[in-house]
C-alpha cells in the first residue's frame, strides 16, 4: 500500500502529459479509513442485501391457519362469577378474546391479567396442553408437535415479551417454534428458519451483538460517522479522478468488440 502511494506521488511529479493526481492526501486518508471500517462496510452491504432478499412474509411466520371464531356463549352466567373471583380488584382493561374452541374474558387488574371462560366464568389456566392446542390451531398444516417447554428465561426469539411463556416446537420443514403466553394464551411469536436467518443478519447489521435490539448505541454511531465520511469523500473523489483514459478504453472496446 505504501509502495502504491509512493508510486502515485512519483507519477504526479512526472505528470508531463497533463496527468495530475488531485487530492492526494484525501485519497490517502480515504484509503486508510476504508481499511479500518471496510469489513463493516462489507458486512452492512451483505446483511442489508440478505434482509431485503429474504421474503418478509416467511420471516414474519409465514402462512397462518384460518381459525373460525368460537361462538359467543348463549347463557350469561359467566360475569357474576368473574367479578366474584376478582374480589373487589379494580379493573383497568377488559376484552373478549378467542381461544381454540372457546371465548375468554380477559381482565386486567393491578394484579395482572387473567383469562376467564366466557361460558362458565371459570379461570383459565394456560398449561402445556392448552398452549400446545393454541399453537397447533394456528399452524397452517397442523404439523406434529415435537415438544412443549416452559421458558425459564427470555430467549432471543421472545426478547420483546414477558415470562411465563410456552415454547411449542413443530416437526415441519421450517423448524417452526410458536410461543404462547402463559398468562393469557396469546400466540406471541411464530419463529422459523427464515426468521432465525433474518435475525442473524439483523444482528450483524445493527451491531448489537448481545441483545440484537438497539441501533442507537455508541459503536454503531461511531462507525456510521466513519462510513458517512468515507462515502462522501469517495463521491467527491469521483470528480477528482481522471476518467478520460477509462472512457477512451471503453470507446475503443465498443468499436472493436470481443477484444479482451
Amino acid at each position: 500500500m505504501a509502495a502504491a502511494f509512493r508510486l502515485s506521488q512519483e507519477e504526479k511529479e512526472e505528470g508531463g502529459a497533463g496527468m495530475i493526481i488531485k487530492s492526494i492526501w484525501l485519497r490517502n486518508i480515504h484509503k486508510r479509513v476504508g481499511l479500518i471500517i471496510g469489513l463493516q462496510f462489507l458486512v452492512w452491504a451483505i446483511s442489508g442485501a440478505a434482509m431485503a432478499l429474504l421474503p418478509m412474509d416467511e420471516v414474519a411466520g409465514g402462512e397462518m391457519a384460518d381459525q373460525a371464531a368460537p361462538t359467543i356463549p348463549a347463557e350469561e352466567h359467566a360475569w357474576p362469577k368473574v367479578h366474584a373471583a376478582l374480589a373487589g380488584q379494580q379493573i383497568t382493561k377488559l376484552s373478549l378474546r378467542s381461544l381454540p374452541n372457546r371465548q375468554a374474558l380477559q381482565v386486567t387488574t393491578s394484579q395482572g391479567v387473567r383469562p376467564f371462560d366466557a361460558t362458565d366464568g371459570q379461570p383459565i389456566v394456560i398449561d402445556g396442553e392448552v398452549a400446545k392446542a393454541i399453537a397447533s390451531a394456528a399452524h397452517p398444516t397442523g404439523s406434529a408437535v415435537m415438544q412443549v417447554a416452559s421458558l425459564h428465561e427470555l430467549t432471543l426469539a421472545v426478547r420483546e415479551h414477558e415470562l411465563p411463556i410456552w415454547q411449542v416446537d413443530f416437526r415441519d420443514e421450517k423448524n417452526s417454534s410458536y410461543y404462547v403466553s402463559g398468562t393469557i394464551g396469546e400466540s406471541l411469536e411464530r419463529r422459523n428458519d427464515s426468521w432465525r436467518c433474518w435475525d442473524f443478519f439483523w444482528m450483524l447489521h445493527n451491531m448489537d451483538y448481545a441483545e440484537r435490539t438497539s441501533f442507537n448505541h455508541p459503536l454503531i454511531i461511531m462507525v456510521g460517522f466513519a462510513m458517512g465520511w468515507l462515502s462522501i469523500t469517495g463521491f467527491w473523489l469521483l470528480f477528482r479522478t481522471m476518467w478520460r483514459h477509462d472512457f477512451a478504453v471503453l470507446r475503443r472496446r465498443w468499436r472493436t468488440p470481443m477484444l479482451p
Partner: protein, 192 residues
C-alpha cells in the same frame, strides 16, 4: 501515453516485470472500485447518510415518546360494570372491549356494521367526542406547550396501521398518534 492512467502500473520508472504482474489484480481492483463508485456511489452516499441519521436520532425520539404524558390508568370496580356479553349480544357484535370515554368506562362493540360505543354502567349509547373534547384530550396528553393549530379528520393513516374510526382514534389517542419533530399532529382517521 494514451494507455497510461494515474492508477496503472508505472511505465517510466519500470520496476521489475514481476512487480507489474503482481500488480495486475491490484489495478483491476482499483478499476472496479472506480467504476462501482461511478454507478452506485450516489446510492452509497444516500444509504450511509440515511443509516447514520437513523442511528444518531434515538428511536424513542422518532416515536415521539417524549411528547406523550403517561397518565395514571383509569380503574373501575367490576361490580359497577354491566355484563360485557349482554352488551355484545344486544349490539349484534363479534367482540367487545372496555375503553375509557370522558374518563368513564365504556364498552366498544365491534360488529359487521363497525363499532358501537355503549356506557359500561347503564347500557346507554355514548356519542362520539366533539372537536372541543378531542382538543382537550390532546392537550392533557401532549407534553409540549405549543397549542395545536388544526384538528381534522384524515382518510389516510399516518401510522402504517389500517385507519381507525373517529371515536376509536379519539379514545386511543392517549396511547398513540403522535409524530415527532417540529410538527405534532393528532390524527383521527376514518369516517366522520
Amino acid at each position: 501515453v494514451a494507455h497510461a492512467s494515474p492508477w496503472a502500473a508505472p511505465v517510466s520508472s519500470d520496476p521489475a516485470r514481476s512487480f507489474r504482474a503482481a500488480n495486475a489484480s491490484h489495478i483491476s481492483a482499483r478499476k472496479t472500485h472506480k467504476w462501482l463508485g461511478l454507478f452506485i456511489g450516489l446510492q452509497v452516499v444516500i444509504w450511509s447518510l440515511s443509516g447514520l441519521y437513523m442511528t444518531v436520532v434515538h428511536i424513542d425520539t422518532i416515536h415521539g415518546d417524549h411528547l406523550i404524558r403517561a397518565l395514571p390508568p383509569n380503574t373501575v370496580d367490576a361490580a359497577k360494570l354491566a355484563d360485557p356479553l349482554t352488551v355484545l349480544k344486544a349490539n349484534n357484535g363479534q367482540s367487545v372491549r372496555l375503553a375509557w370515554v370522558r374518563n368513564r368506562p365504556a364498552y366498544v362493540v365491534k360488529g359487521d356494521a363497525g363499532e358501537t360505543v355503549v356506557d359500561a354502567r347503564n347500557y346507554r349509547s355514548v356519542p362520539p367526542p366533539a372537536k372541543a373534547e378531542i382538543r382537550s384530550i390532546a392537550k392533557t396528553t401532549y407534553t409540549g406547550s405549543e397549542r395545536s393549530s388544526t384538528i381534522g379528520t384524515s382518510r389516510r393513516s399516518t401510522s402504517r396501521r389500517p385507519p381507525a374510526s373517529w371515536s376509536l382514534a379519539a379514545m386511543s389517542c392517549g396511547a398513540s398518534s403522535t409524530s415527532s419533530g417540529c410538527c405534532t399532529s393528532w390524527t383521527t382517521s376514518g369516517r366522520m
